[in-house]
Symmetry: D2
Subunit: 317 residues, 4 copies
């Protein structure tokens, strides 16, 4: 029996303190589409996302991330991962098929970082209503229908106050992620790692942050636009909506253009993101950035992400 594998980042289950505000933000400003609403939970995705949802939004007493879902390469992989995790003494919760609308049988567990990951394979690909459907057969919804209008869900960036090396090791050895780029502190420890199961430079970034209010935090979720021009247009749209943001700028690490904006309902930060590069080499040597190179790694050019107070706010995850 083969080694189970993760195919891709799936979705983030987000709880918001103000559902109305969050819906306005994600639908009208970011421009995501609502696949459906079930029992007060809204399931959203971008026009180029293919599966049921890449974000769920529900009302809660405060904003936090319930869990982060990942799709496996096959149905069998879900249970294979379950076995592997249990052999590694990780507590695994089994989720019945379709308990989460659109999502088949799944497992949930905590990383050493204390973030909850979900693994599933089955996910529905619901039919789109005629008037929202793209004229392109290989695209879900009409593009550019509203707001910033990114193409697809891209990655998550999480922070932990636990020993981050355990999480890198867990992601690599148990879940099959590869380290693509990392930032090393002067004392030799790794402060941040960009890791992926796909050729994207990262599906997840994990940062060590010793002084957090809770061990597991989320810095941002990210949606991808096709062109860097789209990021500039996003900046215009956000200004016209009176919503603060950081960016635009370009990271040295990942080479991606960015703009960071916070959902006013949940406090969840969204990165609008484009450019970057793909890693197809099977023997990729992780790129090491030193503290001296950190400034250019964080901000190759543009509005700096570093040392901004607004950049330090994160939600529980």
């Amino acid at each position: 029996m083969g080694k189970p594998e993760i195919a891709k980042l799936g979705y983030v289950a987000l709880v918001t303190a103000d559902l109305e505000k969050s819906l306005y933000f994600f639908r009208e400003v970011i421009g995501l589409e609502v696949t459906e609403e079930v029992d007060g939970v809204y399931y959203l995705r971008a026009w180029g996302d293919f599966q049921h949802h890449t974000l769920s939004l529900e009302q809660g007493d405060r904003g936090y991330v319930r869990h982060i879902g990942w799709r496996t390469k096959s149905k069998e992989d879900v249970l294979l991962f379950k076995n592997n995790l249990e052999q590694a003494s990780v507590d695994v919760e089994f989720i019945e098929a379709w308990d989460t609308p659109g999502i088949g049988e799944a497992i949930r567990f905590k990383l050493p970082s204390q973030h909850t990951f979900e693994l599933y394979f089955d996910i529905t690909r619901p039919e789109v209503e005629e008037h929202r459907k793209s004229v392109l057969k290989n695209q879900t919804y009409k593009s550019w229908a509203k707001g910033i209008s990114p193409r697809r869900f891209d990655h998550v960036n999480i922070h932990t106050s636990t020993d981050v090396d355990q999480t890198y090791s867990f992601l690599e050895n148990v879940l099959g992620f590869k380290m693509r780029e990392f930032l090393r502190d002067d004392d030799g420890s790794v402060l941040a790692g960009w890791m992926s199961v796909t050729p994207l430079v990262h599906d997840v970034a994990v940062l060590s942050k010793p002084n957090l209010p809770t061990p597991a935090r989320l810095h941002h979720i990210s949606y991808w636009t096709d062109d860097s021009q789209d990021i500039l247009r996003a900046a215009d749209i956000l200004r016209e909506n009176g919503i603060e943001f950081i960016g635009p700028g370009k990271h040295g690490i990942t080479q991606a253009m960015y703009l960071y904006v916070m959902d006013p309902g949940s406090g969840c930060r969204v990165e609008l993101f484009t450019g970057g590069y793909l890693i197809f080499e099977p023997d990729w040597e992780p790129i090491e950035w030193t503290m001296k190179e950190r400034a250019i790694g964080n901000t190759y050019w543009g509005d700096s992400v570093q040392d901004k107070e607004a950049n330090k706010i994160t939600i529980e995850a």
Copy 2:
């Protein structure tokens, strides 16, 4: 022992009737970098390509493609593929390591389409001279140094007058490609297939063309730019150089923006390419395009690629 896998498209070995013209075209107009020249053969790559070369150029009596190289996921995969191919009664040529500069041990064989593929794993990643090296640690050369300046090699598009189904089947069953999109003729046969081993919509497109001068032809090799603006700038640059092209436009199939231009030395067509989408879903259902949908599939908008005489010229492969 696992199933061998191809990681990525590697390079095209191109023979040209006029090396000087081809070098001018690929270096000054397209803006590729020369890694090195060995025994009259030039090894080139884009500023964002990571390995030794993605194109080799050598003088010959006419322009043609010697072979198309693909990198495997591991060193063992080369010999595993050799076994599998021989068991499938395919003639396999073994190439000693470093016979091709930069490339370790490799095998070559013909597809049913009569195109020669090479598989290798080992490839050098030569050091770049200080003044050509990017200031970014995750990038090979300085970007925008000259000409159109695409980021990386993307895919190849090949034509065959043989029964194309045999090639689709060979690519799927022997080499592990997945069909992503295809064009079906009114009689039910498949006329064109876009296939990949990576999340790119295609690493290779194979088209059935019954009336070719030789069974195996190459329609184009493709280099990728980051932004659609770069394709418009490419159009300006080509006009200023007095070089004809088709495009810019946007394909429905693959959703990519394109511009086609021919190397005046070899007759090899180059597609400058951006946009498109990535397929991370492990259970992707190939998108079927009918003849009625073909026009929009070929040209979603812009300068049409269809029915252009210039578009019919292909080189032997």
Copy 3:
């Protein structure tokens, strides 16, 4: 007393056979804003237009252009032009102030081409409602609120079956336009002229077309976008709306990027337009294009505007 001068193109008064369709097209697809509706006439402008309207839309039995309005440099210029025109034996109609909502006292008259021009100076600059107002003090409405969202009105392109030289001469000598670029037929006659009173390459283009259903036709009105990327996005938006268009491409003459789309209500063609160049030289020598150079003059690259059946349809003006 000085010579009266025209400051700028003002607006087009458009009659449509289907007001609902036209309103949908101009508001939802093009993304113009409605300043106000008075007696069934809608007054529209782009988010970066400063005056009351740049387009008026009213229901009629067929689509046609009632007149084309131009703003003079001063209030006195309106009557000075009236005198000059009458001395040149041109019939002049005087329009009472505010007969047209937003427009002060005006005069109307026919060019030799049989197109009706209006000259006015006074025009209101109505306050914008808080929720539609841009956060920028130097911009009228929020940008990117809907659809293609061009910045401002740019120019008009008119056709005539009369002797076009009389119109060039009238525009130059009576109205103060300067010829910027022109296309000369092999027999020495001028087939098309791009003329302006501003540093724009053209505020109006006048083409000689011998076989028209009526002497005065309008080929298109044009709205300007900031970036060429916006024209590509426009192409996507139009495809998603199932609306045919010609382009995108780049003209050699004027150097502008273009896309042509027809209002399904009135049959009035709209050019979405960017790039181009500005003429600040007071002694500009008109650029002459020969018939041999016409192809590149019309279409420097991209989807050709020439010989397209759809391109030949024009409305009465």
Copy 4:
């Protein structure tokens, strides 16, 4: 006899402490073309500039601006301005025709701000060598030949420690500039004014800076690119060349996208600039920005221009 008028900003005569460095910067990095070199002075322009030069570069003991040239609307205007200036008790220096290569008879004088302006009408439009000439008849050089490759010269930004109101008044009353936007201090005084003779929002900006090393300083000269994408590409190019800059970002005032970079030879700052808007209204009301609105006026979004040490360095003018 009519009132003399200025048609456009013409050129800046720049002295550099390191001619070789400045030439490298303006030719290879910015991508200007050299029209000619006469007696050690280099005359440069962008590919879309129409006249002899928009920048001259000569070796000196330090970097400073010798004068700023403006083209009048007619030949007569030069002497008319001379009369007007002398009547206003301004010292005027007469420059013989062709003393400055390419420039006919001219006058020079000091503004109240102590900046030297030159007015001329005659300027040659030299033939371009075949291999550098654009294929477009309405364009000077081939575009995109090297480096950032802006289209044309746009404006100058000057600082003075003198009473700035005298300069605004001089520019308006003697030279015919119009105030387009201005920044008012809390005490009612004007700190910065953006003024133009053309529909550009500004041909010149004049800022009040009480504590300057000499009364007249130049903050930057500006070259214009067609697309905002070009500004992002410029940022990449500058990073690869190891040259520091401020930006990219977007001004609220003028609405233009910007990037500021300093010529390492002369210390003259160059703004790469696109977007913005045009003012065709003859009765434009200057836009007033208060100190409270200053932040958004300076930096609508992006890398802030304010409070940057590097931004405070200016050269003598």
